[in-house]
């Protein structure tokens, strides 16, 4: 589910990160209100974040001998409230990206949208519906399943749009090379068949345990206030996001609908890439012979020399003993 760096174009990453800013702002405001009611929400945020980290790390057995892991978005939303869950999961993703190298740093916005917004909110909405109809458990089960699958769907769309959004003049994709017709089914299949069920089972069982032991520690919804405003803002964003995604990409590639078919069929980067901004270094040639095609020879020499010096420097440095005293 984590989208690593290099799969999404910088423009997409940027757009999604910018799109996340208002959501985070709303979340922070909402949580501050919640904090006034219950002071313990503050430590709970941090705890929920580390709990989510552990949940994502914990291997669950699945029939057939392999393992999968749950994400816990829906679960957290039900336990501490959807807005708090959004913040907690954001923090988890930040921890993973910044300190543990899990998931991309640039793709942070995209990951946050999928896992910290879509998953908890879809899940929580289903749970609330279920509660209304007096079957919270069914609502939760459906929510957990739908939540992770919706998130996977959106991730698939983000990935699948890349060949359309970012490609070279000749049509070779610059980032994720798979179009919607491959990325979306691939993401969905894995989640519909396996991960969704794992998530559902995990969520239900933990919920059951908590409900049995300490029903009061589940999140109690606040008395209804002006929810419409937030909803409107979010809906507006939801509509704006894909627009921005498309609009801001024009600088990187000229996208024509007519090219669509051709693009999706195109799986090979080799022939045309890299037609980068620095005027084409044909990197196949780089490895076949030492001449660096498409570059002034002098620049190539300089780069090579610098590189050699650098490698030696690093080697020497790496083999040295530490001379400075540790304090």
């Amino acid at each position: 589910m984590h989208i690593p760096d290099n799969y999404l174009s910088p423009a997409t990453c940027g757009t999604l990160a910018v799109a996340m800013v208002p959501i985070w702002t709303v979340a922070v405001l909402k949580v501050k209100v919640q904090l006034k009611r219950q002071r313990e929400t503050l430590p709970m945020l941090g705890i929920a974040a580390s709990l989510a980290f552990l949940i994502m790390m914990f291997n669950l057995p699945i029939p057939g001998g392999t393992t999968a892991h749950a994400v816990g978005g829906t679960l957290l939303a039900v336990l501490i409230g959807p807005w708090a869950a959004c913040l907690a999961l954001t923090v988890t993703l930040a921890l993973q990206a910044l300190l543990f190298g899990d998931g991309g740093i640039l793709a942070f916005g995209a990951n946050a949208l999928n896992m910290a917004v879509i998953m908890p909110f879809v899940g929580y909405a289903c749970y609330r519906l279920g509660q209304k109809w007096r079957h919270p458990k069914i609502g939760l089960a459906v929510g957990a399943y739908l939540g992770i699958n919706t998130a996977a769907l959106v991730a698939g769309i983000e990935l699948g749009l890349q060949p359309l959004l970012a490609h070279t003049a000749s049509g070779a994709p610059l980032y994720c090379p798979y179009g919607l017709n491959i990325a979306v089914p691939a993401m969905l299949a894995a989640h519909l068949l396996v991960a969704g069920w794992v998530e559902m089972g995990f969520t239900l069982l933990v919920y059951q345990f908590v409900q049995k032991v300490a029903p009061t520690s589940l999140y109690q919804t606040a008395p209804r206030t002006s929810q419409r405003r937030w909803l409107g803002l979010l809906l507006g964003l939801a509509i704006l996001t894909p627009l921005g995604l498309l609009a801001s990409n024009t600088a990187w590639g000229e996208w024509g609908p007519s090219e669509l078919k051709h693009l999706l069929a195109q799986q090979h980067l080799t022939a045309q890439v890299p037609q980068g901004m620095a005027h084409g270094l044909h990197f196949q040639a780089l490895f076949s012979d030492y001449a660096i095609a498409g570059l002034p020879v002098s620049v190539g020499y300089i780069l090579s020399a610098l590189t050699a010096i650098m490698i030696f420097g690093l080697l020497i440095r790496g083999l040295q003993h530490d001379t400075q005293l540790k304090n």
Partner: protein, 274 residues
């Protein structure tokens, strides 16, 4: 000392040895030991944070964070080897300033993460031909190297300070701080609980999922109880949402100097290409 009380006799089942239960199914609980392994690894990493470079050339934390973002953005947006090459040299220059021990540590960790990336992250590119794999492999490893360098040279406190300087809301920063603390504690707790569970799993369970539900449900509830205590313990010791730490008085020209190569390259990329 012990009065020889007239004690009730033990129940008979306690006085005869158990009939050993033979289990037929194997490997049903393997996932517990696998998770224990992961948890131990995590705890070890948390316990021995990467040795952080003594700041011989201190940058303000917010600039550090910005630099990382910009460099990664650059790497992600360029599509030629020459640019990557230049960026690699830039990183190499920084690496030269590292003490040897840390350099060795860096290289070990970097190679490891590259291997993992190549195995896990990149296979989808294999279909697209070897050249794509090489190109993206180089790109990814360069990104990983930069991220790794950041991790190696930045303390967690600095990340927090950087985020604060960029006006990240206090709630988020505090959550991050508490999450980091709790990760250690909950990780340790989960590890010990799985061990205790292991000791009492005398036969394969029919319901491993129910166990897992209990494990995490319990972890949540206990941590809920601990949350208040730990938070009070932190508050009791003067914690009020930010870590008081003497902030390094880095002069600004250093910050801008270290930022300049990235900015120049950025400018070149944006305006020079067309």
């Amino acid at each position: 000392m012990i009065p020889n009380l007239k004690t009730k006799p033990l129940p008979t089942w306690l006085t005869v040895p158990n009939h050993p239960v033979k289990s037929k199914r194997r490997a049903s609980m393997q996932f517990l030991s696998r998770n224990q392994h992961h948890l131990r690894h995590l705890l070890q990493r948390l316990a021995q944070p990467a040795p952080v470079q003594p700041s011989s050339w201190p940058l303000s934390p917010q600039i550090n964070l910005l630099r990382l973002g910009l460099v990664l953005l650059l790497i992600a947006s360029v599509h030629s080897f020459v640019w990557l090459w230049g960026l690699a040299l830039l990183l190499g220059l920084q690496l030269l300033l590292l003490p040897p021990r840390q350099l060795r540590y860096f290289i070990r960790r970097w190679l490891l993460s590259c291997c993992i990336a190549v195995i896990i992250v990149l296979p989808s590119y294999w279909l697209a031909g070897p050249a794509t794999v090489v190109f993206f492999g180089v790109k990814t490893s360069l990104m990983l190297a930069n991220a790794q360098y950041f991790r190696l040279t930045t303390t967690f406190q600095d990340v927090l300070a950087g985020l604060k300087a960029w006006h990240c809301p206090n709630v988020l920063i505090m959550t991050l701080a508490i999450a980091m603390i709790y990760l250690r504690m909950l990780g340790q707790h989960l590890l010990l609980t799985t061990e205790a569970l292991d000791l009492r799993l005398v036969a394969p369970t029919r319901h491993p999922y129910r166990l897992i539900g209990a494990l995490f449900g319990n972890l949540y509830l206990k941590s809920y109880a601990y949350a208040l205590e730990l938070y009070a313990a932190m508050e009791a010791r003067g914690f009020n949402g930010h870590y008081a730490k003497p902030v390094g008085t880095a002069s600004h020209w250093r910050d801008y100097l270290s930022l300049s190569p990235v900015l120049i390259l950025m400018g070149l990329l944006l305006f020079g290409g067309h």
